[in-house]
Symmetry: D3
């Protein structure tokens, strides 16, 4: 485990997180299956495909990932996801990408990807990252401080987090799919307070307080 | 969403949870691959196989699932897991089983299965169960009160929980793999308090308190 | 191989069989894909999905598995299957469940699951169960007598059977998909008698007799 | 369903059956994984791989498939299988092949492939082939008479058979893995006679007779 | 590597190539999914299925593979492919077949199968076959001369070729999906000449010449 | 198709290419399977795993991806691959990463990934990229000019290329696995010249010339 010394800082950070959505059906029966919106409100597992004859280069293209996005939000970070919803050619290929901007003192709260592993590369700044192993492995924390050019891997389904600790500034961002705090305390409708009071060993007042927080969803 | 009325109760509950460990390699190249301990501290993805010629019926057999286990523990419940570790024939078949005993007022805290979906059947008592959808679906709570003979499904990777609310007694049990509270507040070593304070919007004192709790791992 | 002593008995039995339908696409591209009936008589591999925005807890719920079903049928048993046809939320999750009621002296005739492994737990009574390995393993019989609380595994695709031999009462039930006797002698239209006469080394008269039997399909 | 007229004949037949062993791991992490015998009686799911640096063309090569084999056996046919056991390069590629020689009046008894679909092409003679759908589809017989150059498909796990009916000569061959009659009546040790008597609706005397037959395994 | 001596010859050749299209979804949720044309110009990954109730034996049947096809074309060969486009029952079964006729002096130019491994059996004549390993293995050529009855395997995705060298006659055929020369020099529109000049270390004149060739697509 | 105007330039480029190695076994049976060197020259499909108890954060970490590498080589580019060989934690997670440095006037020659799709993001400069569809789609060229921040997708198995055309400078790099020109003209031993002469419709002299070229492998 890394021991991390914290100093004041206003250094921002930037990272690319690529995560594999384990589609388990990478274009099995044709060259590609460019996603289209489900016609006539009929749905399939994944997406319907565009007529291959009408497919063009633009179906595999997405511009603008270099444009910085404001990180003026409660978590001080912004994720720009690239997936089949905005890059149709990714459908069935089982891979996606995200650009993450970190403001100083942000945080990527603990989260999981229910259907993907993640590989992260730091482009700017310093991140303190970690994941927690499952119960069978006694919930060990596997953590590391990453600097520019470092790469780190987060196995599928495990809870992990990322902070911008560049010279110990704290900032964070969630490229993930399930933000633990949001899911546990911010679900709609709320989870029965007795569940959470018992689960977190706190009284119902605190649960009530936590459930009343505004949870900013940065995805 | 279910609205649930709570009354005093001491009714226990019993459930079978079967969950699919998505092995994605169900005995592809032979009839079975009965697990053996990794020889010479060499490891593979999954387990090495027993010599097929030496395989007997006992390799596919596990007795004693009817024996009640004490639920005298902090969460008031006990899970009896049946997986490749105690039933070697399950190796590569991608399926496992668990018997769950619920004492009154127990709780199965929110958890996820990183590698499996779950189907639950209630044998005794009443359970209040639910899961929370991912961020893309706005973390909706999908919950239900289950009575004897009811079946419920928890999709792979989503955070879910189960309580014994038999006539509103609260008890719980975790057939799962990652207990959120344990993983977040009970990891070894602990997650940096600043991460958790920011993630849960509480001060470091509370995080410190939470991290000091004894977290009973009921798996 | 178990040597089994048979005595008269009228003890019934009850078992849960959970079998994994190896869907190989466990919710790869969204949280869930709740099955709906194929619209406009168009079909896909598996099922079309319900609009996720319209999904509720009831889509993951099935009541009534505790209700005993009459076993007054030729095989003296009844299976209550829980699959995507009656529990839509199971679609793409690759798992299903079955409750099996055994009357005395029933039988689960040899059968196979073309697309699933099975794990069985005995809730009441005693079952004599077994499976036969493939030709490469010389069709070995792997069998065992199971009592209350015992668990047994049947690998994908192998022919297996279950009898209620509680104190040697014979009863059976087929949670499976292909009943060998039905498929071989009860197909519609019938298989050419010369095939079966040669296959089973009996004369055409017996084949004719067997094909004339009423085959009760207990699935 | 085909109606087939039978006349005397001594015409032999020849077919190639290719069946896909659904390995579900087609060389995922390197170009190939040439099978070697399990070292030190340690086993894995599938086979260990030869050192890639030592791999040569001969590892992907098998000669002699044109050599006719004697069909002087009880089923009047011989199968020459090509799989990872005799063509090591096939390991992890999920495909295999078989040459089938049919003597007149042979039979390929009903059988299943627990882990593969099959595609058959007739090189000589005429075959009467069929498969039986699962219980959910009411065990329909899907059958056809095939002549030289015809191709037929047998879906994974379904019971099927093939006869040489070249001008109605009967001969057969089993490219499969589980021969139903062998597995049901010829298992070692035998299945409890009460099971089979009930399953096939015949008396124990006949079951005893059937179990006493010599079952030739032509694989 | 084989050293091959070449003599004049006019011997033709014939081969069956079976290749596995790694569909990774072999009929997971029903017995079969017989392909139908996409209705209303809607597309899915693979094909929509025919109503199972309307499926007949003809959906699994294709006649005429014995009929020789003219090899009077620039590559002196013809492939007769059997796949889900002309044999609907193959849909989702992950397997296909091809008959290959070789005229003297034809050639199967280097090609790859993006989604399948291949197993080849020589029915007539002699073929000189080979594949090239990937960069990580230093692009080794694995080649062999095959005679009647020989079998050879080509791992998924690797570039390979086949020639009829029966007593050194040259003939070829492409059972594959991507013909390298066609794809590189015959794409529509053409690849930028600077790319190819640099890639093949030749001047633009030659690239221009190559791009002007008529590329016969024998698939 | 893009029409591209070319001007002189010396602008370098930088890109990240992430490609999914379709491992089809993403950590199915434990949290992770950190790769170790094959012990005692025994090999498995993929890699053996490190003892989980000995796994640390460094097993998921690789530093130095920001360090520019010399592009002073024949193709004027360098790829820095991040895969299970240098980042052991990636084993079984089915994902990998590559940093690509482009010198002016380099080229990423046409290549394929036999086992992966690729997603590319441009960090600096401008790339002219494209892929060619398979024969069934008539080898269409799908190409595009990408600028800083643009993302492009290359489906699994299809031949593709990338050039640095920043203001039309040409440079390239191959993050791929099979470089077509290397594999076809630079294999060891060489492919029979008659094959290539016929395949590319050129005389043997040119083939001889091409085979004599030094092929720099930039992977």
């Amino acid at each position: 485990m890394k021991s991390v010394h914290f100093f004041i800082s206003t250094v921002a950070a930037l990272a690319f997180a690529t995560f594999l959505v384990s589609a388990y059906d990478p274009s099995p029966l044709q060259d590609f299956c460019v996603a289209i919106n489900n016609p006539q409100s009929v749905f399939v597992n994944g997406k319907f495909c565009k007529d291959p004859k009408l497919v063009t280069a633009n179906d595999f293209f997405l511009p603008g990932l270099q444009i910085p996005k404001s990180t003026a939000n409660p978590v001080g970070s912004t994720v720009t996801a690239v997936n089949m919803d905005n890059l149709a050619g990714l459908n069935t290929l089982g891979i996606s990408l995200a650009r993450i901007n970190f403001a100083p003192n942000g945080l990527n709260p603990p989260h999981t990807h229910p259907r993907g592993s993640e590989i992260l590369v730091v482009l700017e700044g310093t991140l303190y990252v970690g994941f927690v192993t499952s119960n069978a492995d006694n919930n060990r924390l596997i953590s590391k401080v990453l600097n520019k050019g470092d790469v780190f891997v987060f196995p599928i389904g495990l809870i992990h987090f990322q902070l911008n600790v560049a010279i110990a500034g704290l900032s964070g961002q969630n490229p993930g799919v399930i933000t633990i705090a949001n899911a546990v305390f911010g679900s709609k409708p709320p989870i029965n307070p007795d569940v959470l009071a018992k689960a977190f060993q706190v009284d119902n007042k605190l649960v009530d307080y936590l459930q009343k927080q505004f949870w900013y969803d940065n995805n």
